[in-house]
Symmetry: C2
Subunit: 193 residues, 2 copies
DNA sequence: TTCATTTTTTAACTAAGGTGAACGATTTTA
DNA sequence: TAAAATCGTTCACCTTAGTTAAAAAATGAA
């Protein structure tokens, strides 16, 4: 299971056995049941997550309605905004499936970073990559219609459409569940012609 | 002018005179005229920007229409996606106003990072902050209507609405210029009642 | 200043998403 | 297992954005 993490890291830097052992000794691997809430609105935390297997999601409760804005699956890393801003969380994080992930807090990261400078380089590069990728995703969202967004998702993350409930997918796409349902029917109708 | 940059950096780490001089000797300060195109679609570059004064924007050309997706003003940093992904750029970057900025390339950053490890820490923290902030912005975009987005912008970035052409603001808000115009009229109508 | 260009607004019409309600189907839970 | 809650779909109606076109306003260049 740890190998998933190290395989991932090896894309960026090659770790020595010393470094790997330092990470393992942190005891960061966790197994969590479907439905578990990792973070609640209003809470403060220093914990970041890296998904090894399964799926977690971010959702807000606005006007007593759930709005899912992000999904994290295998090899996705999530540092909640409240960890960075040191303010109470504006959103919930919960497990959509039984999930295996790593949980690491700011202090542990600081320690590893100072012991192994290459780990800091890894974090910097990784975070720069995520930022650039997310920028592209945001741009694509702004410049396309809900229907186009759905079709794009179908191409790029077909797995998500299978494993995630429609109403969560809808708010992820920025629309209401009824609209997603209608939009899907519309696409099906078009493809018949 | 350099002081703007160092004031900004001092929020994250305090630099020694040695470090400041190393940065100054890189000769990264540039003054560019309104309308200058810093990066074109299809180009490759290693250059990142930090805006000291003025405003630059990212725009795509889709179906021969300009779609502006981001603005960068005083104290904003921009590393184009193509710098990270090492692929040709999907978008243009141009100056909306006469602008003073720093231009630094990947190689220079790598050099500074290896000479001054604290600079790497600065970059990591800065990039993690940007990522978290952008996530929140993206979430807000997904969970609100064009009208709400406009009202939010009016609160949070009133300067942008003054200094940026409406049609660029429109695509930044994910709508057409005519819709923004109509939406503004609608808001004005409501406020009269 | 004048002319050309760009930007913003307005309007009429079309298309698409939001709302509220209803209906099975499925899942959860007691 | 039965009852309750959740989920996905459909419908009718409303609101809002997209489209096309035109005109007014603002901007820039000769």
């Amino acid at each position: 299971m740890q190998d998933i993490l190290f395989d991932f890291i090896s894309k960026y830097v090659s770790l020595t056995d010393d470094e790997k052992n330092a990470i393992i000794s942190l005891d960061i691997f966790r197994s969590v049941k479907k439905g578990t809430i990792l973070l609640e609105e209003g809470q403060k935390t220093k914990d970041s997550y890296f998904v090894l297997k399964g799926c977690i999601r971010i959702y807000y409760v606005l006007d007593s309605e759930e709005k899912t804005t992000a999904f994290y699956t295998e090899m996705d890393a999530l540092t909640p905004h409240c960890v960075i801003s040191k303010t109470p969380s504006q959103y919930y994080i919960s497990c959509l499936e039984d999930t295996i992930l790593t949980v690491s807090n700011t202090d542990m990261e600081a320690e590893i970073n100072s012991k192994f400078p290459r780990f800091e380089t890894l974090c910097r590069i990784f975070s720069e990559e995520l930022l650039a990728k997310q920028q592209i995703d945001f741009d694509a969202f702004k410049t396309s219609s809900p229907e186009q967004r759905y079709l794009d998702l179908l191409q790029k993350r077909p797995d998500l459409i299978q494993r995630v409930p429609q109403h969560q997918l809808a708010s992820f796409l920025g629309i209401k569940p009824q609209s997603l349902s209608r939009l899907r029917a519309r696409i099906l109708e078009k493809s018949k012609e």
